[in-house]
């Protein structure tokens, strides 16, 4: 059990013992004669023993102090090694992450290559297709497009009227004058892209049907003009404020 006590505890207990013994001696010295005991020799011997023990413990303490300094130096070195190990582990971890990301992406690319190889397409076909879909400015705006420009990636109402459908017999009746005056403006806008030749308007006979600018279809009956119900009149209310920038481009009368 004494081996597990720290040297400090042993030293302190020896000092306590010495104190007790010396107090005993002094009390014995000062006590009146009839109370004196004759254990002086024993007490003194004990004191000398304890003093020797104290000296030995102090030597041990000196040795332990040296060992303590060595331990501190080793602890410092261990701390440095710990730091180095942590750094290396961090680097390894980062490298592993980067590598695993790269492998994942490489696998994805290999899969898409395999998929592409299953259905090969000629590069010329792809280029032609690209030209076709970008010809009408439906993919991106023309370079000169600004906010407020009326051009849209889909055929607008105005352009449709300028086109073949707008120039048929159905529409010529009563509105030919208006339409022809706007043809020149339309030409400037659509010079590159128009597939409909707005000059080639078929000669129209007098017609019973006519379109009004508001979009309603009227039928002449005798001398009266009766408005016909079309799907358009239902849709108008919901699509009037349709954002002209959105690309719900499938219907021609989305305005």
């Amino acid at each position: 059990m004494a081996h597990n006590l720290s040297t400090r505890d042993r030293l302190l207990s020896v000092i306590d013992d010495i104190e007790i013994i010396s107090k005993e001696i002094i009390e014995n010295l000062m006590a009146p004669k009839h109370q004196k005991t004759h254990d002086y020799l024993q007490l003194v011997d004990l004191l000398v023993l304890k003093d020797n023990e104290l000296k030995q413990l102090l030597k041990l303490a000196a040795e332990q102090e040296k060992i303590y300094e060595k331990i501190n130096a080793l602890k410092e070195q261990v701390g440095k090694y710990d730091n180095e190990i942590n750094q290396l582990q961090k680097h390894l971890k980062e490298a592993e992450q980067i590598l695993s990301t790269a492998i994942f992406q490489a696998k994805q690319k290999l899969a898409s290559i395999a998929k592409a190889n299953e259905n090969p397409v000629q590069s010329e076909e792809l280029i032609k297709y690209a030209y076709r879909i970008s010809a009408s400015h439906a993919i991106s705006a023309p370079n000169t497009w600004q906010q407020g420009d009326l051009r849209r990636p889909y055929p607008t109402d105005f352009e449709t009227r300028q086109g073949f459908l707008g120039k048929t017999d159905l529409n010529m009746n009563g509105h030919g004058h208006n339409l022809q005056s706007q043809t020149s403006i339309n030409d400037i806008n659509r010079s590159n892209n128009s597939t409909v030749d707005s000059q080639a308007i078929p000669a129209s006979a007098t017609n019973q049907f006519s379109w009004f600018p508001s979009g309603e279809l009227h039928m002449m009956s005798g001398h009266q003009s009766i408005s016909l119900e079309t799907n358009r009149s239902h849709k108008d209310a919901s699509q009037d404020d349709a954002s002209s920038d959105s690309s719900s481009s499938s219907s021609s009368d989305s305005q």
Binding site: H3, N4, L5, S6, T7, R8, L11, L12, I15, I18, E19, S22, I25, I26, L29, M30, L47, V48, D51, L54, L58, K59, L60, A61, A62, E63, Q64, E65, K66, I67, Y68, E69, K70, I71, L74, K75, Q77, V78, Y81, D82, E84, I85, L88, Q89, L92
Partner: protein, 98 residues
């Protein structure tokens, strides 16, 4: 090294005790100077007490005696082993090639 030896206090109680005994003898044998002698004895007793207290403080201040010597040596050995293992680990990490 020198500082280590200076840190270890030299605790000398016996000399004070023997002085106390001598003074007391003088006190006993003195007739005229009993007061002076008794004062001296009392002083010496106080000095003894002071020496003991100082000794305790000095012992508490000595570093590195929290463990017994065997425990300390074990601790030292463990640290040395740790150092070797960590050095090996670092070398291993540095030598990894993919």
């Amino acid at each position: 090294m020198n500082t280590t030896e200076e840190n270890i206090p030299q605790i000398d109680v016996i000399s004070v005790l023997s002085e106390i005994i001598r003074k007391f003898e003088r006190y006993n044998s003195a007739v005229e100077t009993k007061n002076i002698e008794s004062q001296e004895v009392a002083q010496k007793v106080l000095e003894l007490q002071k020496r003991l207290d100082e000794a305790r403080l000095q012992v508490k201040a000595i570093p590195g005696i929290d463990q017994s010597k065997s425990q300390q040596l074990e601790h030292l050995e463990n640290l040395k082993k740790q150092l070797i293992l960590k050095q090996e680990l670092i070398n291993k990490y540095k030598k990894i090639s993919f």
